[in-house]
Subunit: 405 residues, 2 copies
C-alpha cells in the first residue's frame, strides 16, 4: 500500500473543488420490527437522486470487526492509516476547542461524573449536565493551583471538558482515571514507566482537589480523565495532496482533527445551515471542504432509531443547496456506523457516494447500506476514499514510479 | 493492519460464548456435469436455515491465488497473520500426537512410501497402509540408534508418522527427502547452511537405516521426511483475545495447532458426535470452542464429489444439536477450499457465516459459495474472521488509540 507521504508526488494542484460531507455515524442496522435500517427507513429524495447520479460503495473504517472512535474514523477518511497516525483524544479536544498547544503540553479529555457514597461511578456523564452548570463548575476547578505547572481547563459541551498541563518533564505514559464503565471506582493514574511518575502524581493530585471542590454537587461530584496525549507529528493534508483545505464542524473534536491535519478552521455558527453559509462564503478561497454533520451519530448513540431517521431526513433537505454551490466532486461518507439498535459506534461498513462528471455504470438508486454495497466502488477501506475522490477531481497523476511529474 | 498483539488492549473478557466450527476444505467448485458445487448439490436444510439467520461472506485464507496448507489456513482463521506466524508441519504433528516438545527439538513429518527397484517412488502413501501394519513397522524403526541423539518416532494415522530428534546443535535449515510427487527418487537431505550440516547427515543416516529395515516390505518399503521444524514463538490466543479457549478435533495436527496457540486440548473420541459431547461437557468452563470437522477435506482430496456432498449432509444433521447448546455466537468457516474436481486444497474463497443476536440485512438463504459471496460481510481475508466474530460477541472495545481500557 502507498503511504500517505507518497501522495505528495502523486497529486497536483488543480482548481477543481471537492466537498467531503462526513455524516457522522452514518451506517446503521435493521430495526427489529421493520427489518429496515435507518437509511432504508428515511425519506431522503435528494440523497437518493444524488445516489442515482453517483458511483457508490461501502467503506470499512479501520479493518473488519474493529469499531473506530471518532479520531481514527476521521483519519481514515482523510487518507491517513489510522493505526500509524494517531491523534490522542485529549489533543483532539484541546485543539478543537481553540487551545493553542505547545509541543510538550499534555492534553487530557475529562468528564464530569456522578459517584455514590462508596466512591462508585453511577453515571460517567453526570446526567449530561447543562452547559450552564458545567461552565460554573469549570470556573471553580480553574482555581486549582499546583506548583510549577500551568493548568488550563476549558469546558466543551455538557459533561465534557479538556485539561491541559504545561511544565517540565511531563509524560503521557500513564493509565486513565476513567474506567470507561459505570459501577466502577475512579481509577488511580499509574505511571507505566519511571519517566511518567511525575505526571501520574500530578493527575492524582488534581483529581483529589477536584473531589474536594465538587463534593457537594448533586450530580457532577467528581471527574474522570482519559486520552492523555501530546501533539503528534502528522503530514500536513494540504501539502500532501496539493489541496487548499478547510474544515467545518459545529463540534470541537472534529475541528481539532481538521486543525491538526493543517486545514483552515474558522468560526462556525450554531447549526448546520450556518455551516453551509461558511462553505459558501469560503468557496472561492479553498478547493477542499470537509463538512461535518453530527446529528446522525448522536441519535444512534442514544439508541433513538426515529431520531436518527429524522436527522437523515433533515440533512437531506440541505443537499440541493450544497449541490448548487458548484463543487466539481461531492463525496458523502461516514467516519463509522452508529446503529441505533446497538446504541454505539460499530464496525459495520459505511455507505459512500462520489459524485462527479465522470460517467459511471452504477445502478444504485437509494442511499442505503445494501444498494451502496452493490455499487461500482464495492467494499473498500476508508483510506481509499480520499484517493478515489482526488482521482474524480483529476488531482491524481499516473502512478509510474521513477517518472515523477 | 493491526497485529494480533494489538488485540490484547482491544479485547475484554466477557461471559459470551463463541463456537467456531471449522469445516475443513469447505469451499468447492462446480461439478463438470451438474455445474453445481458440492455445497450447491448437498441437501443441508439446517445450514441453510442458519444462513438465513446469519450474516455471511467469503474468506481468502492467505491471499488471492495462494493455496494454504492446514497450518496456515488455521492460523488465519484464528486471527494470526499466516505469513508471520509459522508452525512447521513436523511440530504440528508432534504436538498434536501428544509429544511434549522441548524448545530445540527437531520435529519431522514422515510418510511410509513404496519405491520400486530403481528407487523411484511409486506411491508416496504406501497404499495408505493400515494403522495395524504401520504400528508394527514403527516399532521396528524405533530400534534405530544414532550416537548422541534421542530419537522419538510415533505413528499417526495410516502411512503418517512423526519423528523427533533431540540433541546438541540440531538445525532445521535442510531440504526435505520427500519430493512431494510420485515417480521421483527419495531426495538427499541437503544442508542449506554450515550450521545445519550435522542435521542433514543425521537425516540421511536415519533414512538409510530405515531402508535397510523396511527393504522386504511389500508396500511400505521406504520413508520420506519433510516439515523439519522447531517450536515457534507465537502469542497465546487466550491471553491475546481475553478468551478461555478449547480446541476439539479427531486429528492430531489440528489438536496440535490448538495446543501451540494455548487452547485446552482434551481426549476427543472416535467420531464427530463424540466431539459434540466434548463441547457440551465443557460448555461451562470455556468461552471459545474451536470444533473441527475433517470429512469434507478428505473427500475433496480423494476427488470424490459425492462423498464430499455426503459429508456436508452428515455435518448438517449435527447443526441443530450444536445450536441447542446455547452459544452467543456461532461462526462457521473453512481453513481453505478443497474442490473435488481438483482433488486438492485450492486458493478459492471459502464461505463463512456468523450467527449472533445482532440484526443483519443479509439476504443469503443457502450456505453456498455464491450466496455467501453476496452476503453482508462480502469478501474478506480469513484473518478478519476472528475480529468480526469477537465484535459479534461484544468482546472488542472501541479502537481509540491512547485511550486504552
Amino acid at each position: 500500500m502507498l503511504d500517505i507521504k507518497d501522495f505528495q508526488t502523486l497529486t497536483r494542484y488543480t482548481d477543481s473543488k471537492i466537498l467531503m460531507l462526513v455524516i457522522d455515524g452514518l451506517g446503521g442496522l435493521p430495526h427489529l420490527q421493520s427489518a429496515k435500517t435507518e437509511l432504508e427507513s428515511a425519506n431522503i429524495p435528494n440523497l437518493d437522486k444524488l445516489t442515482h447520479e453517483s458511483t457508490t460503495g461501502v467503506a470499512i473504517p479501520i479493518q473488519h470487526g474493529i469499531t473506530p472512535g471518532s479520531g481514527p474514523g476521521h483519519m481514515s477518511l482523510f487518507g491517513y492509516n489510522p493505526i500509524k497516525y494517531v491523534i490522542g483524544r485529549g489533543v483532539l479536544e484541546a485543539v478543537g476547542s481553540g487551545i493553542k498547544l505547545a509541543n510538550k503540553d499534555i492534553a487530557i479529555r475529562g468528564n464530569f461524573c456522578t459517584i455514590n457514597n462508596q466512591g462508585m461511578i453511577t453515571d460517567r456523564r453526570a446526567g449530561r449536565i447543562s452547559d450552564n452548570n458545567a461552565t460554573k463548575l469549570i470556573k471553580r476547578l480553574s482555581q486549582i493551583k499546583i506548583d510549577g505547572i500551568d493548568i488550563t481547563i476549558k469546558h466543551l459541551k455538557s459533561h465534557r471538558f479538556v485539561l491541559v498541563l504545561r511544565g517540565p518533564d511531563l509524560n503521557t505514559d500513564i493509565t486513565p482515571t476513567d474506567p470507561l464503565l459505570n459501577n466502577l471506582p475512579i481509577n488511580h493514574a499509574n505511571a507505566n514507566s519511571p519517566k511518567s511518575k511525575k505526571t501520574a502524581t500530578l493527575i492524582n493530585k488534581f483529581t483529589q482537589l477536584s473531589l474536594d471542590i465538587l463534593k457537594n454537587e448533586p450530580r457532577a461530584n467528581a471527574i474522570v480523565l482519559r486520552g492523555f496525549s501530546q501533539k503528534p507529528s502528522i503530514p500536513n493534508i494540504g501539502h500532501t495532496f496539493h489541496l487548499n483545505p478547510i474544515g467545518i464542524s459545529l463540534y470541537p473534536a472534529y475541528r481539532g482533527i481538521a486543525d491538526i491535519l493543517g486545514m483552515k478552521v474558522t468560526d462556525q455558527g450554531e447549526d448546520f445551515s450556518d455551516l453551509i453559509k461558511v462553505v459558501r462564503n469560503n468557496f472561492n478561497d479553498f478547493n477542499f471542504f470537509y463538512l461535518h454533520y453530527k446529528d446522525t451519530d448522536s441519535a444512534g448513540e442514544d439508541g433513538d432509531f426515529d431520531k436518527k431517521v429524522f436527522s437523515l431526513e433533515k440533512l437531506d433537505t440541505f443537499i440541493p443547496e450544497l449541490q448548487s454551490i458548484g463543487f466539481d466532486v461531492i463525496t458523502i461518507a461516514g467516519d463509522h456506523s452508529t446503529p441505533s439498535v446497538l446504541s454505539s459506534h460499530s464496525w459495520h461498513p459505511v455507505p459512500i457516494l462520489i459524485n462527479s462528471n465522470i460517467p459511471t455504470s452504477d445502478k444504485s438508486r437509494h442511499f442505503t447500506e445494501l444498494e451502496c454495497k452493490n455499487g461500482d466502488i464495492g467494499q473498500i477501506y476508508s483510506t481509499d476514499i480520499m484517493p478515489i475522490t482526488l482521482a474524480h477531481a483529476n488531482k491524481l497523476i499516473k502512478f509510474e514510479p521513477n517518472t515523477p511529474l
